[in-house]
Amino acid sequence: MAENEANKEWVPKIVAIVCNWCTYAGADLAGISRIQYPPNVRIVRVPCTGRINPFYVVKALQTGADGVLVSG
């Protein structure tokens, strides 16, 4: 098991902060259409892109996210 993990390719941890009406719906549609994509993204839903405080991005980086995606 340990060996396996060592051999595994490193997978980045990505935070996606997304708008409920657009991207979140798009992500749902990807699901409904069963379009496969990498499983390393964690979505934080906000009601609107305008809700996203720029500091969220900074805090996500400080928390250890390897990448931050903001999508409206």
């Binding site: 749902d28 549609l29 699901g31 499983p39 405080n53």
Partner: protein, 1474 residues
Amino acid sequence: MINDNEKIGSVMVVGSGIAGIQASLDLANSGLKVYLVEKDISIGGVMAQLDKTFPTNDCSACILSPKLVEVGRHPNVEILTRRTVNAVEGEAGRFTVRMTRAPRFIDLDKCTGCGDCAKVCPINVPSDFNEGLSERQATYRKFPQAIPSGFAIDKLGTSPCKAACPTHISVQGYVALIAAGKYKEALALVKRDNPFPIVCGRVCNHPCETACMRGKVEEPIDIMHLKRFVADLDLKAETRYLPEKKESKGKKVAVVGAGPAGLTCAYYLAAEGYDVEVFESLPVAGGWLAVGIPEYRLPKDVLRAEIGVIEELGVKIHLNTAVGKDIPFGKLQSDYDAVFIGCGTVNSSKLNIPGEEMQGVIHGVDYLKRVNLGEKVFLGDKVAVVGGGNVAMDAVRTALRTGSKDVFILYRRSRAEMPASPEEIEEALEEGVKMEFLVAPKRVVGENGKVTGVECTRMELGEPDASGRRRPVEIKGSEFIVPCDALIPAIGQEADLDFVPPDSGIAINKWKNFDVDPVTFATTTPGVFAGGDVVTGPQTVVKAVYAGKEAAVSIDRYLRGEDMAAGRAKDWTKNLADKADVSQVAKVPRVKYPHLKPEERRTNFREVGVGFTEEEAVAEARRCLACGICSECYQCVDACIAGAINHDDDFAEETIEVGAVIAAPGFEVFDAKLRGEYGYGIYQNVVTSIQFERILSASGPYFGHVQRISDGQEPRKIAFIQCVGSRDTSCGNSWCSSVCCMYATKEAIIGKEHAKGLEPTIFFMDIRAHGKDFDRFVNRAKDEYGIRYIRSMPSTIKELQQSKNLLLKYVQEDGSLVEEEFDMVVLSVGLCPPSGAAELAKALGIELEEHGFCKTSLENPVETTRPGVFVCGAFGGPKDIPETVMEASGAAARASGILATRRGTMIAEEEIPLESDLRGLGPRTGVFVCHCGINIGGVVRVPEVVEYCKTLPNVVFATDNLFTCSQDTAVKMGEVIKEQNLTRVVVASCSPRTHEGLFQENCEKAGLNRYLFEMANIRDQDSWVHMHEPDAATEKAKDLVRMAIAKAQFLKPLKPGQLTVNHAALIIGGGLAGITAALSLADQGFESYLVEKAPVLGGNYRKLYYTLEGLDTRKHLKELLEKVQASKLIHAYTDATITKIDGFIGNYKTTVTTRDGEEQFEHGVVIVATGGYELETTEYLHGQSSQVVTQRELERLIAEKDDKATKAGSITMIQCVGSRIPERPYCSRYCCSEAMKNALKLKEMDPDREVTVIYRDIRTFGLKEDYYKKARELNVRFIRYDEDRKPEVVQRGDKLSIRVFDPIMNAPVEFETDLLALSVGTVPNPENVAIGNMLKVPTNQDGFFLEAHVKLRPVDFATDGVFMCGMAHAPKLSEDAVVQANAAVSRACTILTKDYIEAEGRTAYVIKERCSACGLCEDNCPFGAIRVNVVEGCAEVNAILCKGCGVCTASCRMNAVDLNGFTNEEELEQIYNI
């Protein structure tokens, strides 16, 4: 008119496109119950198919979906899909509606929309949603966001094959499964109805193939051998297929006879859990299959294997045990709980001719039995077989194989009447069997008691007999002798019923068969059943199987004590899917079934048929036409864990009562095939505009990639041809479809955005950009996107063979002919009346106009010819979405006007329990993790996630559910909330966008504040998108749930604010729109303050005399004003100015100054109807020459019979004066119609006078096109001019001289005229900006008011409580203003009908001590919901106006504004927990 208290407070809306949806929402939101009736499976109409919408290029799905969800979840709206309205009886206020519900086959209450059914469905049909550009399954949902979100199954009826098969196997089903490579499933499907696929795959008479619709194209599907293919695969498989066996019922059944009937009955009873014993007199099992059918047709080992399966299921077969001899029948009756008799017909029928007893005469049945039981029988070289059935064929071919040289058939009719299966006859002939037709044996000829021949007589065919075959009639004197060594009569069999004692009470009929109930197969003795040949006389295997199967059902019911017959009689000839026109189906030859060659087989017993290879089987199966659409393969039934599928669903009649009806059935797209010269349906790269819309759509067949159909390549040159099926009398469609110019422009722009290299060309007659901001859009298309517009209609299209490119031939405006090659052609197809319009009109009791659209009132286009029945959308004539939405609201206003007193009487308010006291409890979180059947559980290890949740802080309870959305889970969730004292609930399942509301309701019902709920989306955004990574998906699920739990601890119980509503309205502007709004409000029972700054009401409408369609507007206005005068609810102020408007939705206070001084009143909403003005111009000598007037002045001159008009010999009109120019780049919409109106009047007065219209584009959209056509017919002269080559007007004495460049002549023309009328456009009310400032609502760049959304909220402002109508919005016709005024009232009623307005729960709030009142939030808020209170020195949120978008929150440096439900703390906690 009926009394108010007899009226019904509900409305039926027929059709659920955007019109139906909008009307429903308005009505439902103003307290009326709505039945939204749709004939399709889901709502949304054509708008759902569109990619983007003009002129803003908003995504159509994005703007429509929220409306779909709202109407889908609205407690006052009942969506009735798959309904057809049959009749509407009664009168306005109280109608009785009768309708038919077509089956959906999927129970919407149970369906979770997971789509597992579609995944297993083997039937592919062209996707109607994608306009045939892709395929979908027979089990389907139109599009992912569809509402209702449940699936449906398309069935055209029972496929003929299934109906024709005596066992009614889902033939189309297993054929489809074979085509899909699902052989095991195919076999299991067969075995549901027939346990003998190995046998019936070889020796069936296959009536299914006779019925097969493919047979009408070329040859039927080789169904029998497809069945053999899957049966043989199973035969060779390591483990044979066995049906699931139910628990033992502890009851015994005896079966007499181990033939197909008996064994079938045994099989199904054993599977049901009965102990079954079969008694067979022969030493082998199988009955006729074993001893009748020769080895070369049905090998013995294969048959044994089939029977072996039955034994494996637990059936005991006692061989060599003759009932009646070895065991008395009575003992069966006493020892067993039920008996089935399927002993067949074992005795041969006699020829009954002299000499039949001679040696060498051996009856077919006996002969075959002996051979089949292994006896060596040689009959001599020359063998005659009498008969034309399969037994005769079997006998004759067996004789060949047992060494006879010369074998032949003697048959008394002709070949066509032979009952044997055609392939057997064919095979026999191949093997050298001779056949004599129309001969009958008269006498056996022999020597020494041994046959030497048979004397026959010739026959001829007479009249048809009872069997429908022509009766053979003997030809006298035609006797002749056929020499032979043996004679095999094979003309029939009889049953041996001696084993049944006469005292058993079992009735036997005159044919010596058992008399049984045709449905239950019960004999006259209780507990004794019979079926197969013993009942019917010699028949086919498959009929015997059917009898056995049905008897098994009866026996099961009998033993359970249930009614045996209930619900079983079914007329299979009804509802057949055999009506399809197959004349256009491409021919695909039947795959040749492989046989041993005649020389390889004729002397041995090797099986003749070799069997299909997999490749052959699949190819053959693919020939199936899928007649029934759904094949009834029942894969979906197995796949649906929710148990939602019901293939027995049926049509039903329904009746509802409503107070009013709104017809919104939409339109039908023109069938482009009717314009054959464009090659649609023949040339692959010619598509319709709606197809192109799907091509552009990101969720369409090509995921938004613009490509050609023929080769999938991205096109470069693409031609749009306008007016296909519009403005075209050749196909009977004289009207303009109103929307095509705009959608073609949009599609060209979007196409270019998707494929950068695209070069679109639009071929058109007139560009009709008559809507708000449309001309700007077209200008952008030309200037920014470089889209080419050519004013010409291509005459033909030819496809180039190699490239599949298209060669267009067209004549340019100057007359020159051009040929140009394009990669792709889009036909801009028009809008036609909806299919079934005539039937609908009849059902609704309304009239249609000449083209088949709904006939509407001249005063108000939403009124039909029947009071109480209203119309909206394209059914009343082609129109675009905003107009449709306005009409929908307008129709809703008219309907609710009738029912105003009955609001709230048909809707039930749900009781919500008091919230529990949570003080001191802290976050106690309960987590519910959903399996969603296998949708989540099949990928994510749900139990592991549950265990993980239990380790997280604040979690006191965690569990998993199969379906968290099901009703029983809702109950369970409520119990858990109470038992565990939960203060937070987290559900990990699907998307909060679709299910949050449902779960919140569960919480609310359990006394938990609905905002203490949070969701984790582990399906749409996890299991569905990481289907092959269960580990990663499980980890992700844990993370997502952890994030949700982390957020949940900070959630606060929220109490949405409430605000009282003042029920009066302020209407600014007393023109036609304002007056109409006031009257409509009065209908609804609401007071209004109508403020007009002029001394009289009426506005621009005062200046009109008549409309194009012939309405007397003076009379109309007079009536309206009288009504205003009479109404107690309308307070009109003239000569009045509004000096101040304070407040917001529900609570306004307005100050008005009149001659009598200042007055103040309170109101809840504002309707802005400030109107517009006729442009003042000095162009073309206006104001200088008395012979130059405006179009409106001309109307007055005509109406008042002024000499200037009546005496003018020639009149000229110039269009677009001051419109569509850089400083005023919009079209005023009505001028072309006004010009047509006056031109027709002038011609009517004096047909000989010269009337000339100088125009840029004639924009007589919709049904107004007919008037343009009429003007041309009356010789009104039309000359087109370009913006940069305007006409010149010079005064020459008492005449005006006009000089204009005529593009058709390609030269300037000059002529004189007596009177010149200028079509000047509309300019906005200059006070709009000031009024906008008072109301904090915006105006657009032209100075008209800017609506909340140009497509779907055309009369709303972004600020709640303020609405607009009339020319305050944009230039428009008077009837548009009437519709819009009603629409504004309908929208206003959604507020005025309420006593309180509820705010959203998740609104922003201000932490005062942090606020420095900088006002950035106020600047940023799109809804005017947050303002700086200067006195208090901090911002304040108006929770009623707040939409919870959070822009203020994110813009505040001080973090002084936060957003409930998405607070900084909650959001950051999620980020910390990634």
